[in-house]
């Protein structure tokens, strides 16, 4: 029974809000998030600066709006990389016979078992920091779950009647895969993609907080928290808003994933 549930609505709304923030950020005059005004540094939230200002007198609200872009870009690219790498791997494992399956699944198992943050950290270390590299690193660690999911769905679907029928009608294995098997996995992949967006935003925030993710002066929520920590005595609010923004974004995509799961994959839910 597929249905629209509260998680879908709330998650959708929150995710939409994050997207709206990012869009609003692009509408601001270029450089608005970078404009320094040192006499107005570390102002508490108030008129003119609803979220206060940072150590360079930059408007925190502006930086949070523009920071949404970085988070979304990284999450989108990472998820795309995860899909593009994971789905073919999973399909190869499912369709390529026992030996392939063993090798590929052991490999993804191994990666899966390794802490995602540590792996992303290593990749970013090797590639160097920055938005694109962060996205790529998170994308690489996102691939195994997509591979596992794809393989599991394909193995489930393969013995089903309609697939057998397609095969009997003389379609080649590739055609069966692309026309009949993969579409059956779309729902599950969409759910995983949404959850992955949330996870990617969390990892990006952690990397940027450690100074290895998105680089200044480009605003990122994790980087803003890093800056904020130096001013916790006099300006604790600086640590508040970026953290809230991360939470809202992650919550939004996680809920959206759950909601999509209710909608598209109802039988997998308890």
């Amino acid at each position: 029974m597929s249905r629209v549930t509260a998680p879908l609505l709330i998650g959708g709304a929150l995710a939409a809000a994050v997207v709206a923030a990012a869009v609003a950020g692009t509408a601001l005059p270029p450089g608005a998030a970078l404009a320094m005004h040192i006499p107005h540094r570390l102002l508490p939230p108030g008129p003119g600066h609803p979220f206060g200002t940072d150590q360079f007198g930059r408007d925190q609200l502006t930086r949070i709006l523009v920071g949404a872009q970085a988070s979304l870009e990284v999450a989108l690219v990472a998820t795309a990389v995860g899909l593009l790498a994971g789905v073919p791997l999973g399909a190869a494992a499912a369709m390529g016979g026992r030996r392939w399956d063993e090798v590929l699944m052991r490999l993804t198992d191994g990666m899966y078992a390794f802490p995602a943050l540590l792996l992303a950290l290593m990749v970013v270390t090797a590639l160097g920091p920055g938005l694109a590299h962060t996205a790529l690193a998170i994308g690489i660690v996102s691939a195994p779950p997509f591979a596992r999911l794809t393989r599991a769905r394909l193995l489930e679907l393969r013995p089903l009647e309609y697939v057998e029928a397609a095969r009997a009608s003389g379609l080649g294995p590739w055609q069966v895969l692309l026309r009949h098997l993969l579409p059956g996995a779309y729902g599950a992949l969409a759910v995983q993609a949404s959850a992955n967006m949330g996870g990617a935003i969390l990892v990006e925030a952690a990397l940027s907080y450690l100074g290895l993710g998105v680089q200044p002066p480009q605003p990122s929520w994790g980087g803003m928290l890093n800056d904020a920590q130096g001013f916790f005595l006099t300006s604790p609010w600086l640590a508040l808003f970026p953290g809230l923004a991360i939470t809202v974004a992650v919550l939004g995509f996680n809920l959206l994933g759950d909601g999509l799961s209710d909608l598209l994959e109802p039988r997998t839910r308890g």
Binding site: F56, G211, P216, G230, F231
Partner: protein, 522 residues
């Protein structure tokens, strides 16, 4: 700012020390009232009952405890308390006796004779003799030791020990910087007859403290040397140097009382602690010069007009306020104002003139370039952001590259592969230690600056004994730096320490060391 910065602060400048003859009077703003009682010491952890322990926060792990094996500030800041040198300095940067009670230079400037203090004992109990001094310099100058600072002492060709209390150094030529170099922590006197490979983990000096324990990442514990030769020192029997990399944790620990003394605050930290009750601040000008280094070999920076334009377009006050929170002084030369050889150079802020110079150089609309910022040092990253904002006003668009310290050292510094970067250099006692960096023969002339006149002046300065004459030479050299702008000289920062009211006797030396023997606690 964050924990990656937990790194060893391998000092900018490779070493500790500060300005030549700097007048680092501990200009403590509030270090006066000895009245209020210690509220916090009760909460301090790691204190055995009854024992007096001074808890000090340090930012990173030392790289061993042998000052002959590293120039890392984290190491020598500690070993300064374990070892003595032949000579030492006072807060004003004047040389004074240490293990040598007196010394004399031969008229030709090529023989330096030291008379050693009697009754000095190493922490292992044996008595200091001239043999220890000779063995120390032999080990330091032996290439197999790999002492990074050995080249500062390479004029020493031979050492004689006519008797147990006399050391005679034979020099290849007169070296104006040698005596003050002998006061640096890198010239520590180590024991003879001890397997030197053990000194990295088990130092054995004549200084006020000996190493009790070291737990990497956690703390370095020093205890008073029972044989120390200065009566009444050190005051505090045990010092626990806790490794607290995160600046905000350092502050929180100080406010909670688990740390008594916090040397080496950034301006950012100092601005947070200013006005907090129950915290004393002690500040003094340092010898730390922040510069925007320019790769003089690369276009468009090979044009002096472009370099001058950059200097004119950066408002140093914006950097002093923005990055240092006011805890710095603008400069226009490569010596700190507290050096007797310092000659002030003008630092006008004139974007209009800068634009004009750029246009003359063929860049009427500016240009785009990159600036590398070592992420280990948040203040350089912040300065870089301010510089980028300033230079954008004259059409110079800078892309910021945050680089890890290891990358900066190898790529920017050793391989000279960069356009612009922000870094600090720390002088030692002699002006030559800073100014020599812009000679083209210096191994790390990473600015790729080459000026034969400048090279000649610096060589002359190092060979000149007469102070007045030396001052003239260095005045000329500084003038050249100000007009050629091989780098944009930005500011000299303050040394700032914060402590609980119960702590007294802290004094900044013109070296980047933590002098603990004189510190007292109520």
């Amino acid at each position: 700012m964050l924990a990656v910065a937990a790194l060893t602060l391998t000092a900018c400048g490779g070493s500790a020390a500060t300005a030549p003859g700097s007048t680092a009077a501990s200009a403590s703003a509030s270090a006066t009232s000895p009245a209020s009682s210690t509220a916090a010491s009760a909460t301090s952890t790691g204190t055995a009952a009854g024992a007096r322990v001074l808890n000090v926060a340090i930012a990173g792990d030392p790289i061993g405890f042998d000052p002959y094996l590293t120039a890392a500030a984290n190491t020598v800041a500690i070993t300064w308390n374990i070892y003595d040198q032949l000579v030492t300095v006072d807060a004003q940067g004047n040389l004074k006796p240490d293990l040598a009670t007196s010394w004399s230079l031969s008229p030709d400037g090529r023989t330096l004779t030291f008379h050693l203090r009697s009754g000095v004992r190493f922490q292992d109990g044996h008595t200091l003799t001239s043999a220890d001094v000779k063995a120390s310099f032999q080990r330091m100058l032996n290439p197999a030791t790999k002492d990074p600072d050995a080249s500062d002492y390479k004029v020493i060709t031979a050492i004689d020990t006519p008797n147990a209390s006399t050391v005679v150094m034979h020099l290849a030529s007169y070296d104006a910087a040698l005596l003050s170099d002998l006061a640096l922590p890198f010239a520590a006197i180590e024991p003879a007859g001890v397997n030197p490979s053990t000194l990295k983990s088990k130092p054995d000096g004549t200084g006020p403290y000996e190493l009790a324990s070291y737990t990497p990442g956690q703390d370095v514990v020093l205890k008073a040397n029972p044989y120390y030769w200065q009566p009444g020192l050190p005051h505090i029997p045990t010092v626990d140097l806790k490794i607290v990399p995160d600046p905000s944790t350092q502050i929180a620990d100080l406010l909670a009382g688990s740390i008594d003394l916090l040397p080496g605050l950034s301006g950012e930290q100092a601005s947070q602690l200013k006005g907090q009750s129950g915290v004393k601040i002690s500040q003094a000008p340092s010898g730390n010069i922040q510069i925007m280094a320019i790769n003089n070999a690369r276009k468009p920076f090979n044009d002096v007009r472009v370099r001058q334009a950059l200097s004119l377009a950066i408002n140093r006050q914006a950097v002093v306020q923005g990055a240092w929170f006011g805890y710095a002084t603008p400069v226009g030369t490569f010596l700190p104002p507290n050096s007797p050889y310092y000659v002030a150079q003008p630092t006008p802020y004139d974007p209009a003139q800068a634009r004009k110079l750029l246009a003359e150089a063929g860049y009427p609309n500016g240009f785009a370039s990159t600036i590398d910022l070592p992420s280990l040092y948040p203040v350089h990253v912040q300065t870089g952001q301010i510089i980028a904002a300033e230079l954008a006003k004259i059409g110079v668009q800078l892309k910021l590259n945050e680089v890890e310290w290891a990358t900066w050292l190898s790529q920017d510094y050793a391989k000279r592969d960069y356009n612009l970067t922000v870094i600090s250099h720390t002088g030692r006692l002699d002006p030559d230690t800073l100014l020599v960096r812009f000679t083209s023969t210096y191994p790390y002339d990473y600015e790729n600056y080459s000026n034969p006149t400048y090279n000649r002046l610096i060589a002359e300065g190092r060979a000149t004994a007469d102070v007045a004459k030396r001052k003239q030479i260095y005045a000329q050299a500084q003038k050249i730096l100000a007009t050629d702008v091989p780098a944009v000289f930005l500011d000299v920062s303050d040394n700032v320490a914060a402590m609980l009211p119960s702590v007294s006797g802290w004094q900044w030396l013109p070296l980047a060391v933590d002098q603990l023997a004189q510190v007292q606690m109520r």
